[in-house]
């Protein structure tokens, strides 16, 4: 997995609440059997990004010249609600987004981000409002996100800190594959299974 340590990038403001994963990547783009090389980025936000004839909507923030290379998204509450599709973070990542800052996230999407080297940051609404203003300044809106220090610095030098689960932070900073980490605990898992086979034998079919 890609590491996330520190990022200085353009932040795009997307001040909508309840952006669901169907909106991030609609169902017609889920018919893939691959994880990489999907080109999902060009389909991210399809329904609000393109007209019916496939041309870009000028009113969608990521179509505007200042934000085409945005790597940070500042958005509204309950981002990523609905479907569990991991295609949502895959599509955002393929577009180039590496960090999403919102007042709240839906649980499944939030967890899926960490598995793909994307950093979701939760901040209070009033801090989001300030960052949304910063992000509104176009290509000058360079925001720096430092995961090591757990700090965000705005274009005017203002600094806010954020909370994050230490294990998830550790995995992101080091780009760790947590399947590999869990497999190191094989013996503990086997012990659990042996114990449960005795107390709840119906759970095991073999």
């Amino acid at each position: 997995m890609d590491k996330f340590i520190r990022l200085s990038a353009v932040a795009a403001p997307l001040p909508m609440s309840n952006i669901d994963t169907d909106m991030i990547i609609p169902q017609q783009f889920l018919k893939t059997i691959k994880r990489t090389g999907l080109g999902l980025g060009k389909h991210a936000f399809t329904n609000i990004r393109y007209h019916d004839d496939g041309t870009e909507r000028a009113d969608f923030v990521l179509n505007q010249p200042a934000y085409r290379a945005a790597e940070i998204l500042v958005t509204g509450e309950n981002f990523g609600c609905g479907s569990s599709r991991e295609h949502a973070p895959w599509a955002l990542k393929d577009f180039g987004i590496k960090c999403i800052i919102a007042p709240s996230f839906a649980d499944i999407f939030y967890g899926n981000c960490f598995k793909n080297g994307l950093l979701p940051i939760i901040l209070p609404q009033d801090t989001i409002d300030l960052l949304m203003d910063d992000a509104g300044r176009g290509a000058n809106a360079i925001i720096t996100v430092d995961l090591e220090k757990q700090e965000i610095s705005g274009p005017d030098g203002g600094v806010v800190s954020f909370e994050i689960d230490p294990y998830r932070r550790h995995c992101l900073l080091n780009g760790l594959d947590d399947i590999g980490l869990t497999l190191q605990k094989k013996d503990v898992i086997k012990d659990y299974e042996a114990k449960t086979r005795l107390s709840q034998p119906w759970l095991f079919k073999d």
Partner: protein, 460 residues
């Protein structure tokens, strides 16, 4: 220390507790389908890993399957067919129990698991699908996961998780005539919003919940995710045990008795506390319909389309849905009816529709479908003669699958087509690009099919 149902499910599955509060949690069962599993199998193969417990998995294709009458020979879209073929091939390679499309047991993952006794009380159950919360109806801790977590479970039979908060939603009293589990679910979402349950596991309690059948309980738990909660759970009781007994994969004989005595220890202890509690009266709930593009945009059928009052979100939703503020919901004309999905594709749902439409006709301008949730639901409905009632009324009686709930197959709404739907999401484009979805119960969808507009089934 008194514990909730969730506390007990959580505690009994801790393999290891880390200092930072994260836990390695054992996963008893994983169900897979063709859309969110191929990348997980690929990851497993690329890393040279094998399945930790192949017997703990069950695979069934549902999202992409055709639901027309000629499904054996139907020409499926190439990309859909590749996903279906890949699932079959992966199951063969990795030794996973696979139910093929033409098997009578095939259906939507969340309907098949319970039918087969693969879903049992006290378990942890996952699937790469957010509506895995359905299985919580059995007193199992069941939740949707992303594909990376699917792979993690495949390789290790565990997940790394943090304990969530306990939330209780109590619905006491007796539901009125024409009011069902779907109306309870929508009323709750209207009350707490689509983020109301975020970070929580919701336990549904109260006499109205107790008196629901397993089908109704599954409908309610299914929609927990629409209230933001990854899991919704209901304590197992005699209704649960009666449903589970005799299923192909449920324990038999003395094993069943042993299991039941364990399952009886699961309900929340008297005096256990919750982080959040919500109380509703069953008598206050009347049939619900959604008017907007989020499940929380919901009102009683007696209501009117709200005004935006400057709220950009509501303005956008009204524009998308083609509705005017102040318009009576019952005046909203529909084009399509969809009865089905993991929310409302069970036998009780088909019965509810047949009950309403018996001896009546679908309005001329309406195309109405019933898509049973599984081959077994279809067979049972046909045994009961329900298919004929539906066909006589003008419904299309189809083959099992996810169908028009998410439009990954040929079944979808056209642009601006308006649908009375028993599914779970009314997001923009969910049932087809620019399609307009109104969520409601099967009985309400049946009533709309007959009159051609949103209708209070109690007055039909």
């Amino acid at each position: 220390m008194q514990r909730t149902l969730y506390d007990k499910l959580w505690d009994s599955h801790i393999v290891e507790q880390q200092e930072d509060g994260n836990c390695l949690i054992y996963i008893d069962r994983q169900i897979i389908h063709e859309v969110t599993s191929p990348q997980a199998f690929e990851g497993l193969a690329n890393a040279g890993r094998s399945l930790a417990q192949p017997a703990a998995m069950l695979a069934v294709p549902d999202h992409n399957v055709p639901t027309g009458p000629d499904r054996a020979t139907a020409i499926n879209a190439e990309d859909s067919q590749i996903q279906l073929d890949t699932l079959e091939k992966n199951c063969e390679t990795f030794g996973v129990d696979y139910i093929p499309m033409m098997d009578v047991r095939q259906g939507i993952v969340h309907i098949v698991g319970p039918e087969q006794g693969f879903t049992l009380p006290g378990m942890t159950i996952v699937c790469g699908d957010s509506h895995t919360s359905t299985h919580g109806a059995f007193g199992a801790l069941a939740f949707g996961i992303g594909t990376s977590e699917v792979e993690h479970v495949m390789a290790t039979q565990t997940l790394i998780l943090k304990r969530q908060k306990n939330m209780r939603i109590d619905v006491d009293g007796t539901l009125g005539q024409g009011v069902s589990a779907k109306d309870i679910a929508l009323a709750i979402i209207g009350e707490i919003g689509t983020a109301g349950g975020t970070g929580h596991v919701i336990e549904f309690t109260g006499s109205a919940i107790r008196s629901l059948s397993m089908e109704g309980r599954m409908t309610l738990c299914n929609m927990s995710i629409e209230a933001g909660a990854r899991s919704g759970i209901i304590a197992p009781d005699q209704v649960t045990f009666d449903y589970v007994m005799g299923r192909p994969q449920s324990p038999k004989g003395a094993g069943f008795e042993q299991a039941v005595s364990y399952w009886k220890t699961l309900p929340t202890d008297d005096g256990a506390t919750y982080d959040k509690e919500i109380f509703l009266k069953a008598e206050d709930i009347i049939p619900q319909v959604t008017w907007g593009t989020s499940p929380q945009d919901v009102l009683p059928i007696t209501g009117s389309v709200p005004s935006a009052n400057g709220d950009a979100g509501i303005e956008r939703a009204l524009d998308y849905m083609g509705l005017e503020p102040g318009q009576k919901l019952q005046d909203v004309k529909i084009d399509r009816v969809f009865v089905g999905s993991c929310t409302n594709g069970r036998i009780e749902d088909v019965r509810a529709v047949a009950d309403v439409v018996k001896g009546r006709k679908v309005a001329d301008h309406v195309t109405a479908w019933v898509v049973p949730g599984s081959g077994l639901v279809k067979a049972q409905a046909e045994d009961e003669g329900l298919d004929q009632i539906l066909i006589d009324a003008g419904f299309d009686w189809r083959e099992p699958g996810c169908s028009m709930c998410l439009a990954m197959n040929a079944d979808k709404l056209g642009p601006q087509e308006r649908c009375a739907s028993t599914s779970n999401r009314n997001f923009e484009g969910r049932q087809g690009p620019k399609g307009r979805t109104h969520l409601m119960s099967p009985a309400m969808a049946a009533a709309a099919a007959i009159t051609g507009h949103l209708t209070d089934v109690r007055e039909l």
